[in-house]
């Protein structure tokens, strides 16, 4: 059973659909008492960094999430904005992030003459940077669907588990101990995403 945090930021529906497809039960909730019982947690998210942090703080989710991720050390996966929230800060806003992974979130920065569009939108390849159970059994051309204007930048390479090239190589998946974050959308990435979510479900 995977608990998906519903804090009003993003489509939980497609994550549930893919988990169902790979035979994993899930529960969508914003109730701290239910979250307290979670064995594994997914934090989704689409939208603005500060708005998401405000919602987490408003709904008094901060304390229980800290407890689960840092004390109980349950496997925790942040997706897209949910990953960015795991870092210390974001150039998108002023609110501090959860700060569980030594990294910050920065905007794509390209030279003036670059024709690359922001957001980075579409399918792109990933490369393993540090081995992780989350990225086991990937295919040679393992690809994911991305849509984002900001990305994580780890303080130490050991926290980067996948890299992707868009103008330059950025950290497309990060990890510290039991806490994982992916910038792309596994729930929208066919069998490539199923593999990743299966890996997470097996932890």
């Amino acid at each position: 059973m995977i608990t998906i945090i519903d804090y009003g930021m993003g489509n939980t529906g497609s994550i549930v659909n893919m988990l169902k497809k790979i035979g994993v039960k899930s529960l969508i909730t914003s109730n701290p008492e239910e979250i307290a019982k979670a064995r594994k947690i997914i934090l989704p998210g689409v939208g603005h960094f500060d708005r998401a942090m405000e919602k987490i703080n408003q709904n008094s989710l901060r304390e229980i999430l800290d407890q689960k991720a840092l004390q109980e050390k349950v496997p925790f996966l942040g997706i897209c904005l949910g990953m960015q929230l795991l870092t210390k800060s974001s150039e998108e806003g002023k609110c501090p992030g959860l700060g569980w992974i030594p990294a910050k979130t920065v905007r794509f920065h390209f030279p003036q003459e670059s024709t690359l569009k922001i957001p980075h939108m579409g399918w792109n390849l990933v490369q393993r940077s540090t081995p992780s159970p989350l990225t086991e059994n990937f295919e040679t051309e393992h690809r994911f669907y991305f849509v984002h204007s900001y990305h994580a930048q780890v303080e130490d390479e050991k926290y980067s588990i996948l890299k992707t090239e868009y103008g330059y190589f950025f950290d497309s998946a990060i990890q510290k101990d039991n806490i994982f974050g992916v910038q792309f959308h596994p729930e929208k990435s066919h069998r490539f995403g199923m593999r990743l979510l299966e890996n997470f479900a097996r932890l």
Binding site: S14, K20, P119, M121, G122, W123, E187, K188, S189, M194
Partner: protein
């Protein structure tokens, strides 16, 4: 390397999928959920759905069909047709679609684009611009499935919706749609060069070379295809298919 998206664009009419020619002549393609299941197995990059009668009939989206589709499809999904409020958009996002497409309503209320972009982010808002050439060979923008001339130049309208917060433009040439004769490259270039947001070229794709040209000559960021992925060949029977990845990668980056 970012892969250029090739997006099957499917048309919904009275709970069936249809394919049109120049927005007319409705050919029956099949059941929406079944067709999507096949596209899912073909691992297409993304799927777009347009309910071509919702706005004309002034009704809400058919959420039941959208739910059936989202249960079976594990790729990005977009939906257009009849969306007129934040509430409707929210239902569609919760079902598991991540983008919504608007065509007609923004002519009436341009600010709906800003409201939606503020609530859900620009990346989830696509504006569909349907274009026909008039008698004098000038491009004009149409609403309500190509039936109402909105008297706007496509490039100007594209810039306007970009400034209001649209994240992408789905640009359709009504004259080329369903004809297999290739994209209207002038139109695509004109619009793509006027905005900084991605333009999805739509209307006229007959083979993969057309797809390549829409990107290289038209400067499109992505391509939407209809006839060539639902028919065996021009004038032949229904066959849901998708071009081979290796062949596609020869024409697009």
């Amino acid at each position: 390397m970012l892969k250029t998206r090739v997006i099957p664009c499917l048309l919904l009419r009275d709970e069936s999928l249809v394919k049109t020619v120049q927005f007319r002549k409705f050919g029956y393609i099949g059941d929406p959920a079944n067709t999507c299941r096949i596209f899912n197995e073909l691992e297409v990059d993304e799927l777009a759905f347009l309910d071509i009668t919702a706005s004309k009939e002034n009704r809400e989206p058919n959420y039941k069909i959208l739910r059936e589709i989202a249960n079976e499809c594990f790729m990005p999904l977009s939906y257009g047709g009849g969306i007129r409020s934040i509430q409707m958009a929210e239902i569609i996002f919760n079902i598991g679609f991540e983008k919504i497409i608007l065509n007609s309503y923004p002519f009436e209320k341009p600010n709906i684009i800003s409201e939606l972009a503020q609530a859900f982010g620009s990346q989830s808002i696509i504006i569909a611009i349907d274009v026909k050439k008039n008698f004098f060979g000038k491009y004009e923008t149409f609403g309500l499935s190509g039936t109402v001339n909105k008297k706007k130049k496509p490039a100007a309208w594209a810039r306007e919706v970009q400034d209001l917060g649209a994240g992408e433009i789905l640009l359709t040439s009504i004259d080329h749609e369903g004809t297999w004769k290739g994209f209207d490259l002038d139109l695509i270039k004109q619009v793509a060069d006027s905005v900084s947001i991605p333009v999805i070229a739509h209307g006229g794709a007959g083979n993969i070379e057309d797809i390549g040209k829409a990107c290289s000559k038209g400067h499109a960021s992505a391509v939407a295809v209809g006839s060539m992925v639902v028919y065996q060949k021009q004038g032949m029977g229904v066959l849901v298919n998708f071009p081979d990845k290796n062949n596609l990668s020869k024409v697009i980056g």
